[in-house]
């Protein structure tokens, strides 16, 4: 190599794309053709591989990626996977030789200008897939520590959740994928921007597009600064359309027009050089245009809607702040208000057509709020991740989820519900007469307490105060739904819970640890106001993540109540059988039936999804792998939960097994000894509560869990993410070996 260095080359050296990555390689080509580029050097792929080998990271990456098939991972699991790899990479040591070479390549004046550390992977910037923004770049590093820190972060970005999302297109593979780095002297431009040699919004047009912002380009790239957009005619480089603000001075407009014409000229020359339309990132100082990066414009059509949606879930801090404001001050109060208003409406006096109208409007409300949930609440939940990553990047903790301790202090509805359940349970246990009465009542297999029952309870010692507490508990916390059934219609389930709730574990209040971590967090950051702002968003996002679900469930509950009311009427008309279970999908049919005079039986189209295992081979999982969510080992009896009836049958001390612990059932967790969820993720509801209570949890288990039945004996290893099933089939020996 031209530099005589092992890990570093310059843009003037003749080195291959596989050595320095595509971004560096393209810029080297541009420089060779005579365009202006910043002082740069490249950290090659050998450096990356040396770093990985020296720190024994390849096996670790393999283990993380091999926990389960990546195709089966939900986006939350991808994020967790990326977080764990990032956390290890950031704690690893950069090879001494590379440190020496970097120090050699960066003289004091280079460092003083600031250094941009940009990703230059072997896979990015391809013609068919540019993957712009997939990997990280860091600007304005002005000391060696920040440069080394940025290098680690760029290397880590090779394994980010975004990269994992596109793993197939970029052939992501621990053995062969490498991240090279382009280090550039910062150009403190007067204006910066991006440019496209053909309009990316209209490929067939004869236009090119340029965006311009004052100062550095970073705000434009991350979306925090609104650029001025110019459309130019390719044939004469005249501005034919722009989004210039009216208040701009004429001189500014003139300057901008000169710059964009220069950039336009360069774009056409580059297109000629690359024989393909290109996009560039540029900076202008005293009329000189410096090219920061050049790549082919990709016309990749994103076919996967969910993937596109996922990529929108990472708003920048500014957007996150305004989203937090909107959610906290407008949406959550509105959702709460609407739920409460609906709960006040009396359905019994309504005529059939009015009830039909009510069902339709409640269905619309539910759909509306689900859309809000998807568009606003889920992206806000990203605030926790944004904070978590910042915390880990700064503190490099042993446990990559340590940051959760700083989020817990906010009161959540679920926490208030837990406290209310505990208090009501304590009253019940103290009131022997009430307990005895309710135990006898439960034995009669009734679901709802009648007026007569309530009078009888009130006549028992302390009965009146129990009734008051119980009614308040139901009204405040149980007007929610689970699997198309309303909690508040099932006194039998709530009372069973209350009778057992004295044994429920309480979360540990570790205020001292929280305070220590907070001090540590604020001490290690070099930008306290940024750190505090992220913590604030994280906490808000954390506190709302349960509440939004519970409030949404209240709206769902009101729809189900209206459907149940309609069901009773249709049963009395002989149009529906009591055994038929009505779901939300039937709402339109039911509403329509209420407006008809017909006496014909109603045909419902919705079907319960059948999760039962239909495969009849004699294959049985013996050990199931999932994500290690909460450490600890426990053995117990499996109790599958998917309905209120299952909750009623739940025996304290059992292991909960479910598709997902919804916030509508998180209060069951303190009664359990372990949690297994098919849904994966370290920041999902079940894990959050289990972690607070120290209950072992494995999640992200997948379909294999369908083979586990109620009553099966299991062992959970929450540290390794393994579920061991007690041997039942093919027991050819008497010894009961359990693990491999």
């Amino acid at each position: 190599m031209g530099t005589g260095l092992k890990y570093i080359s310059t843009l003037d050296d003749s080195v291959s794309e596989t050595t320095i990555g595509r971004k560096s390689s393209s810029l080297a080509r541009v420089k060779k053709a005579g365009f202006i580029t910043p002082d740069s050097f490249c950290i090659n792929s050998t450096a990356y591989f040396e770093f990985i080998n020296q720190n024994k990271l390849q096996k670790l990456i393999d283990v993380e990626l091999g926990r389960k098939s990546i195709e089966e991972m939900r986006w939350e699991e991808l994020w967790d996977c990326g977080l764990r790899i990032r956390s290890q990479i950031l704690k690893a040591a950069i090879p001494d030789q590379l440190i020496k070479e970097i120090k050699e390549k960066i003289p004091p004046d280079f460092l003083k200008s600031g250094v941009a550390i940009r990703s230059s992977s072997l896979q990015e910037d391809m013609k068919n897939a540019s993957f712009a923004g997939l990997y990280d770049s860091y600007l304005n590093c002005n000391n060696f520590l920040s440069i080394f820190d940025a290098i680690l972060k760029v290397w880590a970005s090779l394994w980010s959740d975004r990269a994992l999302l596109y793993r197939k297109e970029i052939n992501l593979d621990s053995e062969n994928s490498a991240m090279c780095i382009l280090a550039q002297r910062m150009i403190q431009g007067e204006y910066s921007g991006v440019g496209f040699s053909t309009d990316p919004n209209d490929r067939t047009s004869d236009h090119l597009m340029i965006e311009i912002v004052p100062g550095l380009c970073s705000g434009l790239v991350d979306g925090s600064v609104e650029p001025i957009n110019y459309i130019l005619d390719r044939s004469n480089l005249e501005v034919i359309d722009s989004k210039e603000r009216i208040e701009k001075q004429h001189s500014t407009i003139e300057i901008n027009h000169n710059i964009v014409r220069n950039v336009g000229k360069i774009l056409l020359e580059l297109e000629d050089l690359f024989k393909h339309p290109v996009d560039v990132e540029w900076s202008s100082k005293k009329g000189r245009i410096t090219l920061l990066q050049v790549r082919p414009i990709s016309y990749r059509q994103e076919k996967d809607e969910k993937r596109s949606w996922y990529l929108t879930l990472t708003p920048n801090q500014k957007k996150l702040s305004s989203l937090a404001d909107e959610v906290e001050k407008e949406l959550i109060p509105k959702l709460k208000y609407e739920g409460n208003q609906l709960a006040l409406e009396k359905l019994t006096p309504l005529s059939n057509p009015d009830l039909a109208e009510k069902i339709t409007s409640r269905l619309h409300q539910l759909h509306y709020w689900r859309e809000v949930y998807k568009e606003k609440f889920i992206p806000l939940a990203h605030g926790v991740r944004e904070f978590g990553q910042y915390y880990n990047d700064n503190l490099k903790p042993q446990d990559p989820y340590e940051f959760i301790y700083l989020l817990k202090s906010c009161p959540r509805i679920a926490g208030q519900r837990f406290k209310a359940l505990k208090e009501c349970s304590a009253t019940l246990v103290k009131s022997k007469g009430v307990s005895a009465y309710l135990t006898t009542w439960l034995a009669q297999s009734r679901k709802k307490l009648t007026e007569k029952n309530i009078i009888a309870i009130k006549n028992e010692p302390n009965g009146k105060s129990f009734c008051e507490q119980y009614n308040l508990l139901k009204k405040k916390y149980f007007d929610i739904a689970i699997n198309s059934a309303c909690w508040k219609n099932r006194d039998d389930v709530i009372i069973t819970l209350l009778l057992n709730y004295s044994t429920a574990k309480s979360p540990l209040d570790d205020n001292l640890k929280e305070q220590q971590l907070l001090n540590q967090y604020l001490l290690t950051t070099d930008n306290a106001s940024h750190a505090k702002a992220l913590l604030k968003i994280g906490r808000l996002s954390w506190s709302l993540r349960d509440d939004d679900n519970l409030l949404l469930s209240k709206i769902e509950s009101q729809l189900i109540l209206a459907l149940n009311q309609a069901k009773e009427r249709l049963i009395s008309l002989g149009r529906l059988q009591r055994s038929v279970k009505i779901n939300e999908e039937d709402a339109h049919t039911i509403a329509q039936a209420l407006t008809e005079t017909s006496s014909k039986p109603i045909r419902l189209t919705s079907k319960e999804r059948n999760h039962a295992n239909n495969v009849t081979t004699n294959i049985k999982p013996r050990q199931i792998k999932g994500q290690p969510a909460v450490p600890g080992t426990v053995s117990g009896i499996a109790c599958r939960i998917s309905s209120l009836d299952d909750i009623k049958k739940f025996t304290p001390g059992s292991i909960i097994l479910c598709r997902a612990v919804d916030p509508n059932m998180t209060h069951l967790i303190p009664l359990s000894s372990g949690i297994i969820e098919q849904r994966g993720g370290m920041l999902i509801h079940g894990v959050i509560i289990a972690r607070e209570l120290g209950i072992p949890c494995v999640n992200g288990v997948g379909q294999a869990l369908d083979s586990v039945n109620n009553g099966d004996r299991l062992t959970i290893d929450g540290t390794l993410g393994i579920i061991i099933l007690e041997k039942k089939c093919g027991d050819i020996n008497s010894n009961n070996e359990s693990t491999d």
Partner: protein, 166 residues
Amino acid sequence: MDKKKFDLQNEHLHKNDSNKNAVLSKIRRLLLSEDFAILCTKDEKAAYGSLVAFYISDDLKHLIFATPDYTNKYKLLNYCQQVSIVVDDRAKHQNKISNISAITMNGQATQVTGKDNIDNAKAKLLDKHGYLDELTASDSCVFFNVEIKRCLYVTHIQEVYEWVPD
């Protein structure tokens, strides 16, 4: 549970390919594609492992291997017929532990007797391992047939399935 929201978050569960038939196919593929296995035998004092070239029947119920009759494994097989056999594909995935799959079989090993049975076992083994012609022609060579009672298939490091032949 809000079903729509659940579906949004869990669509992968319905596409999951780790169903039982897929597992059986993987077991089959591994056993038919590998040539060698570790045979585990024991006596009253110790366990003993040895490498054997094997043939497995298409229904995966019978495994055949050959050994001279003066070997340790022969002695041990006469002591205890309960054996364990391990087959794995680590040679194909040297650097990726999570891609390695392994099968542990439990079964009963019986020496093949009777000319027709011996000829049959020899033909099957040689069909797969032609280079064993010298060994199988030797007077000291005996064949064992292992009736497979159970297979434990391990993948992704610690994901374990049990298959019991009908």
